[in-house]
């Protein structure tokens, strides 16, 4: 990074942190001022939790009701702003915009959930007589998305330092009498934990349902089973380059698997990519411009002769790229090296 560019990012960082802090303080002020303004018309304790039927089934003292959202908000805002202010996120437009969207959405969510809670408790005398919650549940999730979109627009303003240009590693000298291959993997321990937690939760709900001790039912097992399957797929990826093709396989079962013949490949390079840039984990993007994101960091990028790209997060990507380039150059000896 050059000097002036670095200064621009530093100055931007200060402005960014000031703007985030202003938003955080504004939301915190609303979170404290609104309940205090209605204090004399609210029961103490007031209803703060609603059951599946839409009736209130939990309460909190007024003091806790004022304090809890502010503390939660401080943590959430701190995390969002902290993530966004990290050097590698701040300088890049896409991840910064998403962090800002998260910050804006979370603020709206907190304010809205508090507003609905106050509205339900207003002039009710006792928390058990609080109004039901039905459509409001969807509202508190969906309505702040408008704020999130605004936050994303705000976050798009500012610098966008593109990642380092693709490094083209040294070409490997291929010996025609030898078969050279490259094998590498990447794994994400968080995905393994996700699988274990989902399996444990799914199994205990299934057990309780089977023995008739719970009324949650099989419907609740499905999302945990789906989570476990997705987690297994995301827990690892294996890439191998042989003289004929590049093969990418997901998960410990190495299925599904995708094979790309090297005569479709124009060149390859190593690059750093992060979930914030590509929109999360897993298979991101469309075929022809996709990233298989297992963990942030080193990534093998392959450009097809058709112009498309495939990126896979994998360790030791530079060596793999060098071998692919050497194999491709051998296939087309007269095309510019």
């Amino acid at each position: 990074m050059t000097g002036p560019q670095h200064d621009a990012v530093t100055g931007f960082r200060t402005r960014f942190l000031l703007a985030s802090a202003a938003w955080a303080v504004l939301v915190a002020a609303v979170l404290v001022a609104v309940p205090l303004a209605f204090a004399d018309r609210l029961p103490d304790p007031l209803a703060t939790h609603w059951g599946a039927s839409g009736r209130p089934d939990g309460s909190m003292t007024f003091g806790a009701f004022v304090l809890f959202p502010v503390v939660l908000w401080a943590v959430v805002a701190g995390l969002c702003a902290g993530v966004a202010a990290r050097a590698r996120t701040l300088a890049r437009r896409a991840p910064r915009a998403w962090a800002c969207a998260g910050l804006a959405w979370a603020g709206g969510f907190m304010v809205l959930i508090q507003a609905f809670t106050i509205a339900a408790n207003l002039d009710r005398g006792h928390w058990t007589r609080a109004a039901g919650m039905t459509w409001q549940v969807a509202m508190v999730v969906v309505a702040p998305m408008a704020l999130g979109a605004l936050g994303r627009l705000a976050g798009r303003r500012g610098p966008d330092v593109s990642p380092a240009p693709p490094r083209t590693g040294p070409l490997i000298d291929l010996d025609p009498r030898k078969r050279q291959v490259w094998v590498s993997t990447a794994s994400a321990s968080w995905a393994t934990w996700l699988v274990l937690v989902a399996l444990a939760a799914g199994a205990s709900i299934a057990g309780l349902t089977l023995t008739g001790r719970s009324s949650i039912g099989w419907g609740a097992v499905v999302p945990f089973a789906v989570t476990a399957v997705v987690g297994v797929m995301l827990s690892s990826v294996s890439v191998r380059v042989v003289p004929e093709a590049l093969t990418v396989s997901a998960g410990p079962l190495r299925w599904p698997s995708r094979r790309v013949r090297l005569d479709r490949v124009e060149r390859a390079w190593a690059e750093e990519r992060y979930p914030g840039q590509v929109g999360g984990w897993g298979y991101r993007g469309l075929p022809g411009h996709a990233t298989i994101m297992i963990r942030g960091g080193e990534c093998l990028v392959v450009r097809y002769t058709s112009g498309g790209e495939l990126a896979i997060t994998v360790d030791d990507a530079a060596a793999g790229a060098a071998l692919i380039n050497a194999l491709v150059a051998r296939r087309r000896p007269f095309v510019g090296r």
Binding site: D175, K178, R179, V181, T185, R254, D316, A319
Partner: protein, 119 residues
């Protein structure tokens, strides 16, 4: 990890695979403490049976280069020392010499010549 198999090598396949992995460790492709890709992946890439790769891995463990840990796969324990690397290189050199019809004794004489020139 980059692995190279010699297509004309007359040695048993598991020795060739072991040599390829030893070379990769020697070249620093994988450092002590790093995990090796699973044997199954190595076997598929090299186009050999998984049992062949497992046999090579066991040989390398017996040499003290690799460590098998339950649930954590196979990891590199140490790099092969200079003698082991040179031995493999010398073997390749002799193979190449044989292709040109040069005997082992002639290669030894050649090396002596060169070392005297360098001294």
């Amino acid at each position: 990890m980059l692995l190279t198999l010699d297509l004309n090598d007359p040695r048993p396949l598991h020795e060739q695979v072991a040599a390829a992995i030893r070379r990769a460790i020697g070249a620093g492709d994988v450092a002590p403490g790093d995990r090796l890709p699973p044997a199954r992946d190595l076997a598929r890439a090299l186009g050999v049976n998984a049992n062949t790769v497992l046999r090579s891995l066991r040989d390398l463990r017996d040499e003290g280069l690799l460590e098998f840990r339950r649930g954590r796969g196979v990891s590199v324990l140490r790099r092969p020392d200079g003698r082991e690397v040179l031995r493999a290189r010398a073997r390749e050199l002799l193979d190449e010499a044989a292709e040109y019809g040069v005997s082992a004794d002639e290669v030894v004489a050649l090396i002596k010549d060169i070392s005297e020139e360098m001294a």
